[in-house]
């Protein structure tokens, strides 16, 4: 297929729930072959976005192109070329693993049964066991395998590692990456556990307050952000026009995360290269303080963001 077509392209995408926007003015293009992390706090609109991409939720505004197709009008073709893992990992709990394989086989023309069986063998999941009897980690593996066996060109994963212990997380990520490398699959996976993603992703989309705050290649994200530490009260005039994302006073010093294309030469600042986690955190913090300043979008929302940051920390 044409590799110039972005795997996912959205323009002014928005989803309005009864009173609030679940997602607003979301525009980004994800090139093919990337493993992209969709990060943001709970309620930022990650699931909303992924559901709309998967075609099980309808946008209120804007357009979506998935592999050059609209998930609404050409549903079947789009569906057979992508796979979607819901955050609840819904599976038929009374099915045996074997029966779930048959389910996949009968509903998907591109189904790769051998691959699925190989995965279950590697994971030591017996084909005759009931899905409901498997552990949470195993169920997550089964759900992911159901997606991978579709041989998708685009894999949409909503919180695939949430609620898994570190070992299970690693196993799952490993299976995912092996398959993805083999097929050149584009992956868009959401998470609020940023630390896990830094090692596997090469593309980042930061979502908060229902908006896209940043999207780009991981190298680019790391390249244009700097963590600078200087004495409290140091003027920002010497920052060479850098955009301050967040500013955290730490006693006598002040730690800023800035976005800039230019080097910062003022010797008053100590310049560090931030990790992805620090960058994401800065955006989330900035968002939280903006919400504080404007007194919106309401007390409940603010508290939600606040509590989430502490989780990320």
């Amino acid at each position: 297929m044409n590799t110039l077509v972005p795997a996912v392209e959205t323009m002014g995408l928005g989803k309005r729930y009864r009173r609030t926007w679940g997602l607003q003015d979301c525009s980004f293009a994800l090139p093919q072959g990337r493993v992209a992390a969709l990060v943001g706090p709970n309620g930022a609109g990650k699931s909303t976005l992924l559901r709309m991409l998967a075609g099980i939720s309808t946008p209120s505004t804007g357009t979506i192109n998935v592999l050059g197709l609209s998930p609404r009008t050409q549903n079947v073709e789009a569906l057979s070329r992508m796979a979607y893992l819901d955050q609840d990992r819904p599976l038929y709990k009374d099915f045996r693993v074997e029966e779930l394989l048959r389910f996949g086989r009968e509903l998907n023309p591109r189904w790769d049964d051998a691959r699925a069986r190989r995965h279950f063998e590697e994971l030591r999941i017996p084909l005759e066991s009931r899905i409901g009897r498997l552990s949470g980690g195993q169920q997550a593996q089964v759900a992911l395998t159901m997606c991978l066996a579709k041989r998708p060109e685009l894999l949409l994963l909503d919180e695939p590692v949430a609620a898994l212990d570190p070992l299970a997380r690693e196993d799952l990520m490993q299976i995912l990456l092996e398959s993805v490398v083999d097929d050149g699959t584009t992956v868009l996976l959401s998470s609020h556990a940023v630390a896990d993603l830094a090692t596997v992703c090469d593309y980042v989309i930061i979502l908060s307050s229902s908006r896209v705050q940043f999207s780009g290649e991981l190298d680019h994200v790391l390249g244009v952000h700097r963590l600078i530490v200087g004495p409290a009260g140091t003027g920002s005039a010497s920052l060479n026009g850098a955009t301050i994302i967040s500013s955290v006073p730490t006693g006598r010093t002040n730690t800023l995360l800035v976005r800039t294309e230019q080097p910062i030469i003022d010797p008053a600042w100590e310049v560090l290269e931030p990790t992805l986690e620090e960058i994401v955190l800065a955006y989330l913090r900035a968002d939280a303080s903006r919400a504080h300043a404007k007194g919106e979008p309401g007390r409940r929302r603010r508290r939600a963001i606040g509590s989430d940051i502490s989780v990320v920390q």
């Binding site: 099980i56 939720s57 569906l79 819901d86 038929y92 048959r102 509903l107 579709k150």
Partner: protein
């Protein structure tokens, strides 16, 4: 795809078969011993109430979780993101659920035909109880095609309600009164007029044998030139002319004198009834009515599933 639809609905369908099998055994038992014991009469009455509700319960039990059950467990998000259209997904589910429902009820209907026959013979020798005359309500609703019509209507009612409210329990609970209302409205208001009823006239208040063994709709004392109440009057209106009342109030009235009174007063008794011979016509039309309702509900389900969003 057929296998998938079957596998998802398997436990519901098997549970329905189990319940109906127990009931069928009970019917066979009561049918076999009916003639011998007076006490069974009350059991038959109870059976009739159960059997009135059964098509509704059966159809709703299989229909309500068809879509709502998946929504409840979140598996709709799995099923609708595989490589098949919603229309195809829904079609196979409806075919499997619909055929299972129809199949179960068809077997039940055959047992019921035998049962109403076995029960009615002995019921005639008893006072009151279940008449078993198949054109009359009760026996009419338990035999023949209508039972399949009722059950499929309940099935599609369940799917439509489940698709709209997405909760299988609520869909079932809401469906039962709707089903009962539809049944009662059709039985009491529509069925008597679906085929033009027969009329029997007599100078005395005594029906013919044919009218006795049929579904009696109305009886009135009317002017001799009429077989239905005059315009603006209902069947409750009786033409009690003074001459007729005085004529018949004398003691030790013989049959001949009674009839003569009617002739003198220019009145006669009119019996309006649905004869036994209208059984299949009524069955066919009533079944068609319920299948048409089912078709409307199917349309609603299709539209809702095509627009199905999480």
């Amino acid at each position: 795809m057929t296998w998938v639809a079957w596998r998802v609905q398997r436990s519901t369908i098997l549970a329905a078969i189990a319940v109906v099998s127990v009931l069928a055994l009970w019917l066979v038992a009561t049918g076999l011993v009916m003639g011998h014991s007076q006490t069974w009469k009350y059991w038959t009455d109870a059976d009739v109430y159960v059997l009135f509700a059964l098509p509704g319960v059966l159809g709703l039990a299989i229909g309500a979780p068809l879509i709502a059950g998946e929504s409840n467990l979140g598996t709709d998000r799995l099923a609708t993101t595989q490589s098949v259209t919603r229309a195809r997904w829904l079609t196979y589910k409806l075919l499997v659920g619909g055929f299972a429902t129809a199949g179960i009820v068809l077997v039940l209907t055959l047992i019921l035909r035998w049962w109403t026959g076995a029960v009615s013979v002995s019921a005639l020798t008893q006072s009151g109880g279940f008449s078993g005359v198949r054109i009359q309500p009760d026996a009419f609703d338990l035999t023949g095609l209508v039972v399949v019509g009722y059950t499929l209507f309940a099935f599609f009612l369940g799917t439509a309600l489940g698709t709209v409210i997405r909760k299988p329990g609520w869909a079932f609970s809401l469906g039962l009164p709707i089903f009962a209302a539809a049944r009662i409205v059709v039985q009491d208001w529509l069925r008597p007029h679906l085929v033009a009823p027969a009329v029997y006239t007599n100078l005395m208040e005594r029906a013919s044998a044919a009218a006795m063994n049929s579904w009696m709709l109305n009886l009135a004392l009317l002017p001799a030139n009429r077989t239905s109440p005059p315009p603006g009057k209902t069947w409750a209106w009786w033409d009690w002319t003074k001459s007729y009342t005085t004529c018949t109030s004398q003691p030790n009235l013989t049959n001949a004198e009674d009839a003569h009174c009617a002739v003198l007063a220019h009145v006669h008794f009119v019996f309006q009834y649905q004869p036994e011979s209208h059984y299949w016509a009524l069955q066919g039309i009533e079944t068609a009515i319920f299948l048409a309702l089912a078709l409307l509900l199917l349309g609603l389900t299709v539209i809702k599933v095509k627009r199905w969003r999480i």
